[in-house]
Symmetry: D2
Subunit: 140 residues, 4 copies
């Protein structure tokens, strides 16, 4: 992956994230993806916290996950996020959840986010944030 | 929807399920879908708890969610689940999350589940459970 | 328990609430207690949602839980909540989590809540809500 | 704190961990405490994952939390854990949740854990793990 165009976070599977099947419960992957997405935006210089303070929310409008292999308690995982499509009101992030220890791919995912104003109406993203994101689309 | 072919559960959005956007956090919809799926299987006479006791796990292999409108704290929601496709090793469930108070559709979703044995290998579902599920596919 | 002075909610343990020990993860009991607390306030005529809309937040300042027996996936549980102490800025709720099927007591708990204004300063609760709560203290 | 007798983990508050009050939801502190507890045991040379593989579970039997100040989304927090009491069947961990950025103390907590065998009966902890823990009690 070209440098700077994707960001990764590391995390360790928490006990409370396992279920009685002995693996990480599938809903948590969406939380992990958000962690990587937030980190990626931070790396690009767009702090989500600041966007919200400015009245813009990015709400998840679609999510797709493909679960390939399962994660166990205490596993160290890497979640990589990048921008796959950027429009003025909608962006698409893609993700890979991997376990570096054995190189296993656990999950691929994507989420679409739409930009909403304070009254929850779709709205254009701030020009500066938009320009940054457009410059960092990674076609994969 | 034809009787008996879909099942619904009611739930009230919990405080801990909201996020600082003031709405239910998107990952919880996967949890709610699972509640409806479990209930639907129970209604059909297939208790997931018993399947697991018999060595069969149904693991989520894919998930898709389309978020249409958001849910607020204390909202009463209805989640409806039905079987859309049934194979010997893979079934596809579909879901609708609605808010009866104003008739709003909040989310549509689908999850594919694969049948795994004790060593996590894909395996045929027990014949009885399979027959019941095949008889209850709802084409929508 | 004297009528009207305590309220109960029923819930079924969700799959995602179990952990790999095969029982409900201990942190979820706090969530369940909050469900019963909200319901109890609703029964008393104090809707938490309305308090918040009026600028008053009730923030948990202390919590104590004693775990007696564990809950399994799909168990139906009853969580009972009542007011044990009521002051103008702080109230203490107590809870019992039980499994009606076999009469097992799973957990006893208590949480103190303090009343905060919009700037997160401790503040007196609205007189009406306070009067209702004072009239419903249950000494146990 | 004397070296090696306490361990700390860093974490960033996740979006899904906030609630509509705009702060981290109180139940998550139990999850964060467990992360620090696991890390502390790992630092001491007792891997919880291995204990479980050997048939020993440590189940939370009591928890107490005192919430002092609240955490916001994206805050970096430090959770410190240490052993306060060690018996052959029960250990008491204590915790501090702090925000290094401004030195704020957010929460103090303690959890008692009991040692259970495969049939969920209280049992002595393995001698080696016990000796290590006894040697690392920190009286505060």
């Amino acid at each position: 992956m070209s440098e700077g165009r994707a960001s990764a976070v590391s995390l360790r599977v928490r006990y409370g994230e396992t279920d009685q099947m002995g693996v990480a419960y599938h809903a948590h992957y969406l939380v992990w993806c958000e962690m990587a997405r937030t980190e990626h935006m931070r790396q690009l210089g767009v702090r989500y916290r600041d966007l919200e303070a400015g009245g813009i929310k990015l709400a998840v409008s679609e999510a797709r996950l493909r679960y390939v292999s399962s994660a166990r308690y205490d596993d160290e995982l890497t979640v990589t996020a990048w921008l796959a499509e950027v429009g003025s009101r909608r962006v698409l992030f893609k993700y890979r959840v991997e376990r570096p220890e054995d190189g296993a791919l656990l999950c691929t995912a994507e989420t679409a986010l739409i930009s909403l104003d304070r009254s929850n109406k779709p709205t254009r993203m701030p020009a500066e944030a938009l320009a940054i994101m457009e410059a960092n689309v990674l076609a994969t």
